[in-house]
Subunit: 116 residues, 2 copies
DNA sequence: TAGTGGTAGTCAGCATCACTAAGTAGTTGA
DNA sequence: TCAACTACTTAGTGATGCTGACTACCACTA
């Protein structure tokens, strides 16, 4: 999309991937494809793999190597308990931010309604 | 708040400040105080000032030096035409992200509703 | 047999951004 | 004089996503 989206994804992409893993376990290539389907057309594989390494090192996911019919073996990531807690914290932070910014947006278009 | 919020603010804080300036011109110290009032209690002055320097260098705002009754002169920032366009682009990007992530959140809590 | 294309993952280097921490300066009041 | 508030500046750090190139496995085809 653009530079703005790139910067916005910092901090949120991690939550997005954890949310995808919360639905069901997945491997890197698959996650990248799913992100593309869901509209994040510009996210590159390298970014996703680097992110997966990070969340693995932090112990938010469990990893299993699974052979593939086509190509090299897959590293399948599963959200574990710690990852689940982290994801919940993500949702709280995200919701807070969405509410604050939503208020700002509303304030701009309907300035007379708020008491200043 | 925490590390998650710090990372999420990357890319969004700029939009937040531009949105504040869209309501009315303001200077750094004032913007910091306003952010604190609006719930972003952990945002430090240094962060805001650095951001203001950036958006000034990109030509998104006009700057005027105004004497203060208390303390050094203020640098009052006003959103200009380019800044307005940039802010609109920010809202588009932000809305897109909120919708995508909202879908993900919904999907997790009501998985059977979506067709896969 | 060599070449192409899809699958799957790794790595080095870069730019951007928020934070930390310290400093400079002006004004007011004890 | 010194503290406290106002107002802005600056150097350095860590985290993150992107770029671009690379390795490797498999199937199909000229």
């Amino acid at each position: 999309m653009g530079k703005q989206m790139t910067e916005m994804l910092k901090g949120t992409l991690e939550g997005i991937v954890l949310a995808i893993l919360a639905v069901q376990p997945a491997y890197g290539y698959e996650i990248t494809a799913r992100l593309r389907e869901q509209g994040f057309s510009d996210i590159v594989e390298g970014t996703v793999y680097a992110l997966l390494v990070r969340i693995e090192q932090r112990g938010l996911v469990d990893v299993a190597k699974v052979p593939s019919e086509k190509g090299p073996p897959r590293k399948v990531y599963t959200l574990n308990a710690l990852g689940g807690e982290y994801l919940e914290e993500f949702w709280r932070t995200w919701t807070f931010l969405v509410e604050r910014i939503g208020q700002l947006h509303h304030h701009i278009e309907h300035p007379q309604e708020e008491g200043e």
